[in-house]
Symmetry: C2
Subunit: 314 residues, 2 copies
Amino acid sequence: MSLPPRFDVLISEVGPRDGLQSVSATMSTVHKCAWIDALVDSGVQEIEVGSFVSPKLLPQMADAAQVVSHAVAHPGVTIMALVPNLKGAEAAMRAGAHKITLPVSASPAHSIANVRQTPAQMVEQVRAIAALRDEIAPGVHIEAGISTAFGCTLQGLVPEDEVIALAAACVAAGADESGLSDTTGMANPAQVRRLFTRLRSELGERAGAAHMHNTRGLGLANCLAAYEAGVRTFDSSQAGLGGCPYAPGASGNVVTEDLVFMFEAMGIRTGIDIERLLAARNALAAGLPGEALYGMLPPAGLPKGFVAHSYSAD
Amino acid sequence: MSLPPRFDVLISEVGPRDGLQSVSATMSTVHKCAWIDALVDSGVQEIEVGSFVSPKLLPQMADAAQVVSHAVAHPGVTIMALVPNLKGAEAAMRAGAHKITLPVSASPAHSIANVRQTPAQMVEQVRAIAALRDEIAPGVHIEAGISTAFGCTLQGLVPEDEVIALAAACVAAGADESGLSDTTGMANPAQVRRLFTRLRSELGERAGAAHMHNTRGLGLANCLAAYEAGVRTFDSSQAGLGGCPYAPGASGNVVTEDLVFMFEAMGIRTGIDIERLLAARNALAAGLPGEALYGMLPPAGLPKGFVAHSYSAD
């Protein structure tokens, strides 16, 4: 007898990495761990908890190894870390991360600005990291996140053929999966459906997550389009933390609370208890006093008569 | 030789009615007319410009007849007014409105709270209004907007059979079309697709507009789902004006600017010039100084390399 799956879609919470990396304040290690604990308590199954980069570049991430060590003590939760290169990947693997993700930009201009490497050089990083993984930590999962996949603020349009070819090159170089990121908030639902359909056709089960931004308000519509194209893993950030370059309300990342609400309302199980997820905002707020927290569900509350499928059908 | 259609979807701008009715300040008649002119200048094809209700109840709408008279001078634009009853309908028709819309709530509790009539009594209002229309203004189009179609803050769930039956009863009573309104911001994309599919199956070409709210952030995702279910008319409000009952960013109506951006980015023509639509915000702001204006596209701006289909393909 097999147990039913705990969720229909996997929400990959990126706030403790993508979010905290983007704000100017630094959350203490204790607060980071408490926030991660609260997220786990709500049922989140995968969390990106830190970035293994130079602490000179990103002092907010200097404690990544400590945070990973704490987080991996939670059974059944996948703990991820972002790494820009082989050195970071080794540190992340030695710290015990279950999964590492590399930002591989489809826009050469963006790639150089972001990680000082061309896309082709990043594919070689993937190859070197996969070889190291096979040697020192064979259980670790490697994801390539193809950034600027839907457009670039530097070069504008990014050819779709190049996006798909780069995603395939990363898998060929040893990545377990390649996902697509709307780094710049330029995606639209028709494009999302088209690109993820191509990605899945090209890579099959190695087609990875949708990482959408809400810069122009289309974050949830793009996630819906990705779902309809077969995507089942979605990156999002609690309270939309992570890049709010514009006016109040204009957050960067898709807000986890709103995304979970959308799926649960549709009867698509996330495995997450929305009330507890909302409670986890308090842990975030405690560690970043004064920081703006986004999201439409949190102030509005759940609708009268709302049925959350993850915690009613089971 | 026939001209190509000017748009693939019709954006029905409700700000000058739904929006202005919901804010406490009163916009002057001159400013209302200037805002409507700016909206027309951007290519908006249908505008709900006022509400024919008692000025004691809604002083913001006391000049509805004057505003309609001004607005109908624009050739080729459909000018709508909301009416709660026969008296209001007669005034709207005598003022020259091309189209009138009645709020017919599927929730008895909400219907009584909103217009002091049961849903069945509102169907009789539709019948009386249609008879009057046939007599004094046969060209006027009558729309029933089925409110609380996706849930009600008073009664919670609203049975879908009752929503569809009420929409059909309004058409049987003489309405030219029945649309569905997510008055309370409780809709989700699966429900939107299901209900509009049923509505179109039941009413065919008399299935009307989707009126979505963004209370919980799902406004655009719900519009996308409605589009996929065949809906081609969408209500929205410039700057999301109209009911912002919660925290900053938590607007009521779907933001016209963001909705037009979504469709244009997808290659679905709205007939609206986004730059001019953004400029029309200035006319709104001039008439409502200090009022919060919402929307994600306006602060972010159009993406680099963006191609607006309405003004490039033609």
